[in-house]
């Protein structure tokens, strides 16, 4: 073997270690080393496997090996940040092995929320060379009074799974913490490890100081062998609608028996439960098949992960809970049940199989209905063309900034100018307006209320010199207990009567259960018995028609890119070859009965059915934008006297039904609906309230944990809806309302995509008046009744319900019915 000059630069004992294994360093590992040695930030973009982690650590390991002396550290040399606690702990194991083999004296320790207090204390007194942690734990460390000393000598930060952090609130928080570290240690170098993304430039800006992408050297890891992806060709009848894929269970099971280890990915927790149960029903060979999703008890999830690592499982049914995480080399097949919703996400999931660069990953997609066949086909085309999608990270959240500013004050006093200069060095905040910053600071200081000030209970005190300092040390204690930007929905424990806790369901789901209702959870059929305080009490049940858990877990956004591909495929019959006959027949029938939605413009079909008038618009703008459109359309139809009754939205279409037919489509879909109608609806809608709740919690208006009440965990201490109503009335421009509005518009409301869709529709609406439902509209009409129907006001619905009970009461009274023995005293 000949050594290039750069390989030689690796030096002892690294060269020997590689040689002793018969390995050679990967080119990307050496390029990373060279970039960091040249004083640059570095971003490694590579598929999983192939020594990515080692590439991230090599610069630090070589530097630490060359460091003279055994003197006690003031603080860590290198900080490693992972989005997953489990990953931080796993890396500690994997990194310690080669370090020991090389005989290096490098201390490596993990610090997460699970690290016991005595070890944390020791880590403070005797800092390790390399500290492995999460964004939340880093934020806690940053808020320490000794943070400046502790991090004064830090040289390198390694951010793992950077693509999964950028663009989230956790990513915002991390970027702010990195800006802080840069102040403590101006020479700090940043290393990012990322999967392939559609927006490498934006990712560079996110990682770099000052958002300066030019300071980052991008290193490309070796391309993985092209994955082999197929679509399950079912022999069964392909359902018209539905998202569970249960028709294909026997065929999925067959694939599991043929593979070594299979990861079965689904999109929602409810789907995971059902599929898991059906797989076990088909499990004639008693294969060890497990279930993994975010609602299961943590111990149960850990058990499944450990069994996977030990190689004792043949398959796991999982949600996004396993999208990231420890590599399991034995996985040789990934099955994606349901539509992938985005090409980058699919590539990520496929990458969980075949963790060796030279072996192609094998994956199979299982469409659950006819629309999904198209989407799966288009996604595979996208994977083969190696296109990537997904939205680049946006601007940082103001709620995260509020949390961070209080953290800064817990650590040391600052002036407004200093803090503004510092936070605008973080990528997501480089466009932050000074006025917004000042409003956030004023909120942190005393609530920022215009009409009435909390002088006596301010959190920050402004000294004569203009420095903000903590008004009371106890605030720091409480703040540290509430650090973090992941807001969990309110959940309730599910507990077997006189038995163990099985996991948690969202409160929203639990309060909709009636005693005797059955549902599938943790892979078992359960009967709801009642609610005891914050626990859902259940017994084991039998039967096979459960009331399925409505908790959705994640609903992935349908990427614009994949949506465009589906549109193109529909518009081009030449691309239909190879589609299953059932799908072909469906599409041809649509051509004959109506028309295909084109590449441009907007197809709107109207038809009568069952005494109602239906309107179906093929927007392809994703479910969130269609939901918003549904609200706005029904509003407008109400004004036009069309008596809308409800609507239902999917990623592809929106269907509205009314008593009178709509005729003037240009007026109905005019962009002006994004003005006052949107504003007035936005303020009232429940999504806005939910968004406000998240903002209020992250910004620290509402605390999750209070001293002495740590165990109450996720239950917040105040109903945020009440605050929302009062604040909206009395200070509509308060910074937290502004933060909530901007979050909602970007996320759940998806105004941007709706605006694009309406702009595209303008002048290009094709209205087809039909005498009956079109083939393409069948799937969405089958959703009616399964989905919650919206559109009517509370008072109307209650009046209707009341009249029913008034009637029932009258009849019962007249007929001397039961339950009316006690008449009011007179």
């Amino acid at each position: 073997m000949t050594l290039s000059p750069s390989e030689l630069a690796l030096g002892s004992p690294f060269t020997e270690w590689f040689e002793s294994r018969g390995w050679a360093p990967h080119a990307h590992q050496l390029e990373m080393l060279a970039a960091v040695r040249a004083g640059r930030d570095a971003l490694l973009i590579a598929p999983t496997g192939g020594g990515k982690t080692l590439a991230g650590f090599l610069p630090s390991l070589t530097a630490l090996a060359a460091k003279p002396g055994e003197g006690k550290n003031q603080g860590p040399h290198t900080l490693y940040i992972s989005p997953l606690k489990a990953l931080a702990v796993d890396i500690q194991r994997n990194l310690s092995a080669p370090v020991e083999e090389m005989g290096l004296k490098i201390g490596i320790e993990a610090r997460t929320g699970d690290t016991p207090a005595n070890r944390r204390r020791r880590q403070r007194e005797v800092p390790p060379d390399i500290l492995l942690t999460t964004p939340e734990s880093l934020a806690v460390l940053i808020s320490d009074e000794e943070a400046a000393t502790y991090f004064g000598q830090i040289e390198t930060v390694v951010v793992d799974e950077a693509h999964a952090l950028a663009g989230t609130k956790r990513g915002d928080q991390l970027a702010l913490c990195l800006a802080r570290l840069q102040v403590f240690s101006p020479g700090l170098r940043r290393i990012g490890l990322s999967a392939t993304v559609a927006w490498p430039e934006e990712l560079k800006s996110w990682l770099a100081a000052d958002g300066d992408a030019s300071s980052v050297t991008v290193v490309k890891g070796g391309d993985a062998a092209a994955p082999v992806v197929s679509i399950l060709e079912t022999a069964e009848r392909l359902p018209w609608s539905g998202h569970y894929g249960l028709h294909a269970v026997p065929e999925i099971y067959q694939e599991i028996t043929k593979a070594e280890v299979t990861l079965v990915f689904v999109n929602t927790r409810a789907q995971a439960e059902l599929l898991f149960q059906e797989l076990w029903r088909a499990n004639d060979d008693n294969l060890p098949i497990a279930l993994h999703h975010g609602s299961l008890a943590r111990e149960q999830r850990r058990k499944v992960e450990a069994a996977m690592s030990a190689g004792s499982l043949r398959a796991v049914v999982a949600t996004s809970s396993l999208d990231l995480g420890i590599d399991w080399a034995a996985v040789d097949l990934v099955v994606q049940v349901g539509p992938p919703k985005g090409i980058s996400r699919l590539i990520q999931r496929i990458g969980r199989a075949g963790h060796r660069l030279d072996v192609p990953s094998r994956a199979m997609l299982v469409p659950c209905n006819r629309f999904e066949v198209l989407e799966c086909r288009c996604a595979i085309d996208g994977v083969e063309a190696r296109t990537l999608d997904g939205d680049p990270p946006g601007v940082g959240g103001l709620d995260v900034l509020a949390q961070h500013l209080l953290g800064l004050a817990c650590s040391a006093p600052f002036t407004a100018d200093e803090a503004y200069a510092e936070v605008t060095r973080a990528g997501p905040y480089r466009t932050l307006q000074r006025s917004d910053f000042d409003d956030v600071l004023s909120y942190v200081e005393d609530g920022g209320y215009a009409l009435k000030a909390y002088d006596r209970w301010r959190r920050l005190f402004k000294t004569a010199a203009g420095r903000y300092e903590l008004a009371d040390r106890r605030i720091a204690l409480r703040h540290r207990m509430n650090i973090g930007t992941i807001v969990e929905s309110v959940t309730m424990k599910v507990k077997l009567k006189r038995g163990p806790v099985l996991g948690e369901v969202e409160e929203y789901f639990a309060i909709h259960l009636e005693p005797g209702d059955s549902f599938v959870f943790a892979g078992q059929m359960l009967i709801f018995q009642g609610i005891r305080e914050t626990t859902v009490e259940v017994t084991r049940g039998t039967g096979d028609a459960p009331k399925v858990p409505a908790y959705m877990g994640t609903r992935f956004p349908f990427t614009t890119h994949l949506s465009d591909r589906v549109r193109d495929a529909l518009a081009d019959p030449g691309s239909w070859s190879g589609l299953p006959d059932q799908v072909l027949e469906w599409l041809r029938l649509q051509q004959w009965r109506s028309v295909m939605p084109g590449r441009d413009g907007l197809l709107v079909e109207t038809f009568p059915r069952g005494g109602k008038e239906y309107l179906v618009a093929y927007g392809f703008a994703g479910r969130n934008a269609h939901q918003t459109l549904g609200m706005l359309l029904t509003k407008r139809m109400e004004r036009l006297g069309l008596s809308p009754l409800g609507f239902v939205a999917s990623d592809y279409v929106i269907a509205v039904w009314s008593l009178e037919p709509a005729t003037d489509m240009a007026a109905l879909f005019d962009q002006d609906m994004l003005g006052d109608d949107l504003e007035s609806w936005l303020e009232e809608c429940s999504l806005m309230r939910r968004t406000f709740r998240n903002v209020a919690i992250v910004a620290g208006l509402i605390e999750r944990r209070l001293p002495g009440r740590e165990k109450t965990g996720r239950q917040v201490t105040f109903n945020t809806d009440l605050i929302y109503d009062v604040l909206r009335e009395h200070q509509p421009d308060h910074i937290l309302l502004r933060a909530a509005r901007s979050d909602a518009r970007g996320g759940m409301i998806d105004v941007g995509r709706l605006a694009e869709m309406l702009a595209r529709a303008k002048g290009g609406i094709r209205h087809r008046r039909l005498d009956r439902v079109s083939p393409l509209a069948v799937p969405i009409l089958l959703e009616v009744g399964k989905e919650q129907v919206r559109g009517a006001a509370d008072a109307d619905l209650l009046a209707e319900a009341q009249s029913y009970f008034d009637e029932a009461e009258l009849v019962a009274e007249a007929m001397g019915g039961p339950d009316h023995g006690e008449l009011p005293l007179r």
């Binding site: 609530g447 409480r478 609610i531 605050i723 129907v789 319900a801």
Partner: protein
């Protein structure tokens, strides 16, 4: 005058005809009396005192709602059924504006503060009369419902304290809201304060006061809606 915004159905309590209002107040037409429970004034600043800086606008929101309820409704007297102030220092924390507002509402009216557990001794200096309990004709007003004891039945009782709310299934979705709960002998009022949450009427704490046959009067924007106990979902 358009005295009653929204729809409502009166109910009968020990012979008195009472009108539940969408704001959460109760009106007794023959006495021209308005009854409200659990204003919890200055609850926001009580939280601020412990470090959670909630918007300090709850008192003005509550008083504004009270004023709006009285607008166009001839009101000779007002009974506040206790917990009118969130804590014993709450009155002292009231803004000048809010104190003035309250005084305007009280002016020319017979105003009674029933003592509650949060405000066992409602504040001096604001006016009005303070009492532990009030009996007027067929009705008795107290903060917390009383257990029937020694074979003595409770009749005509109006109280607050529990902040009842109820959940009703409709064609499209279940709707939760604050409510009155009554069985012809006693009634518990919903909380009136802007920052007050609620307890489901099915909770044993409320259930123990009622038999199987009771009614809720559910508040919604635009009216009060009556449902029998059998209509409630849990």
């Amino acid at each position: 005058m358009n005295a009653l915004p929204g729809k409502t159905i009166p109910f009968d309590l020990n012979g008195a005809k009472l009108l539940p209002l969408a704001s959460g107040a109760l009106y007794w037409p023959v006495r021209k009396m308005l009854i409200v429970a659990d204003l919890h004034l200055e609850k926001g600043s009580a939280y601020a005192r412990t470090g959670q800086l909630l918007p300090p606008y709850d008192s003005r929101a509550t008083l504004a709602a009270l004023e709006q309820t009285m607008t166009g409704l001839e009101t000779h007297s007002v009974i506040c059924l206790g917990d009118s102030f969130h804590d014993e220092e709450a009155a002292a924390r009231l803004d000048r504006t809010d104190v003035d507002h309250l005084s305007r509402l009280m002016a020319g009216r017979n105003w009674i503060w029933i003592a509650g557990n949060h405000d066992p001794a409602p504040p001096a200096g604001l006016g009005g009369e303070t009492m532990a309990e009030l009996v007027d004709g067929p009705l008795v007003f107290r903060h917390e419902a009383e257990d029937a004891a020694f074979n003595r039945e409770v009749v005509g009782e109006l109280s607050g304290h529990f902040h009842p709310k109820a959940r009703v299934a409709t064609r499209a979705r279940r709707i939760t809201g604050r409510c009155f709960v009554e069985d012809g002998r006693r009634a518990i009022l919903p909380s009136f304060g802007a920052y007050t949450g609620g307890l489901d009427v099915r909770d044993p704490a409320i259930q123990k006061f009622f038999g199987r046959d009771f009614r809720v009067h559910l508040l919604a924007a635009g009216g009060v809606f009556r449902f029998p106990a059998s209509a409630l979902s849990r």
